[in-house]
Symmetry: C2
Subunit: 349 residues, 2 copies
């Protein structure tokens, strides 16, 4: 493991904007403690007064309205475990290097989110028949330096198609306490199964539209080439990650070593396999706990280590749709959706 | 006028791909001679055998079909004068400098185009009720070096919404002779009123789709920020250009000097005004010939020059929709749609 600057147990990937990674080798349970959950921001963290804050629902609705935090917190709640992964997680493994935050394995976490179903607010507003997409807008905004970006202030915003709306939770609690400022206080849209750029923090506006939204974070950023056309990133790709042994770790020879990690997808994981010989042969790992859609699944594999030397470990996941991980990088994914097989090199002594 | 490398009377802006500009000070009639018409290419010019070539009409149609050049040339024809302007015309005037071919005033021309109405082929194919856009694909293709571009071969392609289809001419003659290879032999889609990137050369496929097309030349290139959303470039913006005197030219003092040029828009020009004092006062110019939609309008103004010194000339156009030119650059247009007022500086001796 490389030398790293840690803050409160997280790796500092950048200060402005603040980007903190959770060392993946610390994985030790189904729920990631909030203090260890990775942090991804694009602009300074908005300072929001809960009593002043309002959420607006507008656009292609019959009765647009605003709602206060107090009113919102009186509505029926649900609690869901949902895994959020940054679409650029694992970027550090790309060769050649690409632009963007150089995340290793830890821009991913799994939390219990508590809040109100988006459907409740949409029902109150009454969707018009013209409704086609729903845009979530955060309070985070700023100027971008990239030549191709729009001038002036850009707000972090993302859309989902109408058919995804029923899955969305408007969460104000994370792991049973109030959402912290770094994670979107007072309200975060949780879009289960999608990369986390869709789960808008510091949520302030929900805009129902009659057409495709083509904002900056849906086109110039957080997009990829799908059959030659630019498409917004959406579903998380199937992935298994090894927590321990970590890359560069030394394990004892002729011993039982627990290889363990987590696997996730947009949907449910059906199987995880492990190779201890660089991908030549594969063995099935044991899935732990029970399966919950759009939450990761912990897994473990008991490795009988050989005599002293070295080994390359690889894990791969399969999901309920029959999808698995590619062996090679698909560069049409740009700097995102990195789920090709990742070798973990260990020394055996 | 700067020193320039000329080839067959055109300014060489780049060799690979070939980009040739028509010196705008040579403007001397409503029709731009084909030999002087500007050339904009993105890839090597395709070598096409007219007898082998086929145009395919496919997608959301009842009866997809291919048509040979021989068959096509037996269909009813129309001839239209249409002005084509590169969406990056005038880029040389931008400060600070931006990427892209550094066109001065001459990435624009007006030709007579002869061919078959797109509607005739669409009627034969029979549009399905799901039809929403029409993609034109050229035979020109190649690999792009930009980091954000798709990998592999990219074909030059562009779409129009269905409601624009009735205006489109599939042209195989330019100024009464066969379309030359540099201008799209054997067939070019002419999309009147739109910037020329939509008028696909070396046309080989017409694909009817049920949704927005998001190809490279519609999103990462030839797009701009419209109310914070990425939108493909479409209509030409209102513009008047002065052909003579040219920037840096010397005119006689105390004389009658003919100031002349052309003006165009997506639609029809209603008025051109000229200022000889850097924009403080404006006089109406005389519009020449008759108005033809989506073709430029020549104009002239008789300038009584003062005593020796210097002057800044500016022309501005107004169109039938009441639009005119902005005074300042709108940077959300990126490197395209450059129609703010351009000062032409002349010496008076």
């Amino acid at each position: 493991m490389k030398d790293r600057q840690l803050r409160d147990g997280k790796i500092v990937r950048s200060e402005e904007p603040l980007n903190l990674e959770s060392p993946f080798e610390n994985l030790d349970g189904f729920i990631t403690p909030t203090a260890r959950f990775y942090v991804r921001t694009h602009f300074p963290v908005p300072k929001i007064d809960k009593d002043e804050w309002r959420l607006s629902i507008l656009g292609e609705v019959e009765k647009p309205f605003d709602i206060s935090f107090d009113e919102l917190s009186k509505l029926e709640t649900r609690t869901l475990p949902v895994t959020l992964e940054c679409a650029g997680n694992n970027r550090e493994f790309l060769e050649p290097k690409v632009k963007g935050v150089q995340w290793a394995l830890g821009a991913v976490g799994n939390a219990n989110w508590t809040g109100v179903s988006l459907s409740i607010l949409l029902e109150r507003a009454g969707l018009k028949s013209s409704a086609r997409e729903i845009i979530f807008e955060g309070a985070d905004a700023g100027e971008l330096e990239e030549a191709k970006a729009p001038r002036g202030k850009v707000t972090f915003a993302r859309s989902i198609p109408l058919e995804k709306a029923q899955d969305v939770l408007l969460a104000y609690r994370m792991n049973d306490v109030d959402l912290p400022p770094l994670h979107g206080f007072p309200l975060r849209a949780i879009v289960p199964g999608w990369y986390a750029m869709a789960s808008i923090k510091w949520l302030t506006r929900i805009v129902v539209t009659d057409r495709s939204f083509n904002g900056y974070y849906q086109t110039l950023d957080y997009a990829f080439w799908k059959n030659g056309e630019l498409a917004p990133l959406r579903e998380m790709q199937t992935k298994a990650q090894i927590a321990r042994p970590a890359n560069g770790e030394t394990v004892p020879a002729n011993s039982n070593v627990r290889v363990h990690g987590a696997a996730w997808t947009s949907g449910e994981i059906s199987k995880v396999e492990v190779s201890v010989d660089g991908g030549s042969t594969w063995k099935e790992a044991k899935l732990l706990g029970e399966s919950k859609p759009n939450a990761w699944r912990l897994w473990e594999y008991n490795w009988q280590t050989p005599k002293a030397g070295s080994a390359t470990l690889i894990a791969r996941a399969f999901d309920s749709r029959g999808e698995t991980q590619p062996v090679e990088r698909d560069w049409d994914r740009g700097t995102y959706m990195i789920n090709q097989l990742l070798p973990i090199n260990v020394a055996i002594e």
